[in-house]
């Protein structure tokens, strides 16, 4: 018995809740006064390595890192 209540506009556009929530958080962080802003911008950094597999063998991994080593 599914209800036909209106879905939020972001879900209607194909976005998931987690994407929506992270966008909102990002926008709020960028609207802070210093020094708070520099403190929280560290939370936006991501670091991941994504490996795809083809025919049982790993392809070259995609690495994204905002935590650049100096």
């Amino acid at each position: 018995m599914a209800s036909n209540a209106a879905v939020p506009f972001w879900r209607a556009a194909g976005m998931t809740y987690i994407t929506y929530s992270n966008i909102c958080a990002n926008l709020v962080r960028n609207c802070l006064k210093e020094p708070y802003k520099t403190e929280v911008l560290g939370r936006e950094k991501v670091h991941f390595s994504l490996s795809s597999w083809k025919e049982g063998k790993p392809l070259k991994p995609v690495v994204r890192s905002d935590t650049a080593k100096e």
Partner: protein, 112 residues
């Protein structure tokens, strides 16, 4: 008493409130203890009100309202209003609309 910015509107929560899960929209969460009010801006998230009168607020970002920069909010609001006019795909429109909603809520928080 706590006033939470639920997607269904401002919700006041007192001890003894029925157990509830509420989805939050970007807005001000105000905690009233006697005459003392503390206001926080939450980016979005959920509020769990338990049967034993405890409430948990889950948010990715929750900041005291006095940490918000007014100039950044005005600029963001103008930028995203502009983006909504030039947006073509549904996704761009949704992102611009989110920008407008969040900045409007931030604006209301600092001027309210």
């Amino acid at each position: 008493m706590v006033i939470i910015p639920a997607t269904t509107g401002q919700m006041g929560v007192l001890p003894g409130h029925v157990a509830t899960i509420a989805e939050l929209k970007p807005g001000v969460l105000s905690v009233h203890e006697g005459n003392d009010v503390k206001k926080y801006f939450v980016s979005s998230g959920f509020a769990f009100i338990h049967a034993n009168s405890y409430a948990d607020i889950i948010a990715v970002e929750a900041v005291p309202v006095d940490q918000i920069d007014s100039a950044a909010v005005q600029k963001g609001l103008a930028d995203f209003t502009q983006k909504l006019n030039t947006a073509t795909t549904d996704l761009e429109k949704a992102e611009a609309q989110i920008g407008i909603d969040v900045h409007s809520a931030l604006n209301a928080a600092i001027t309210g």
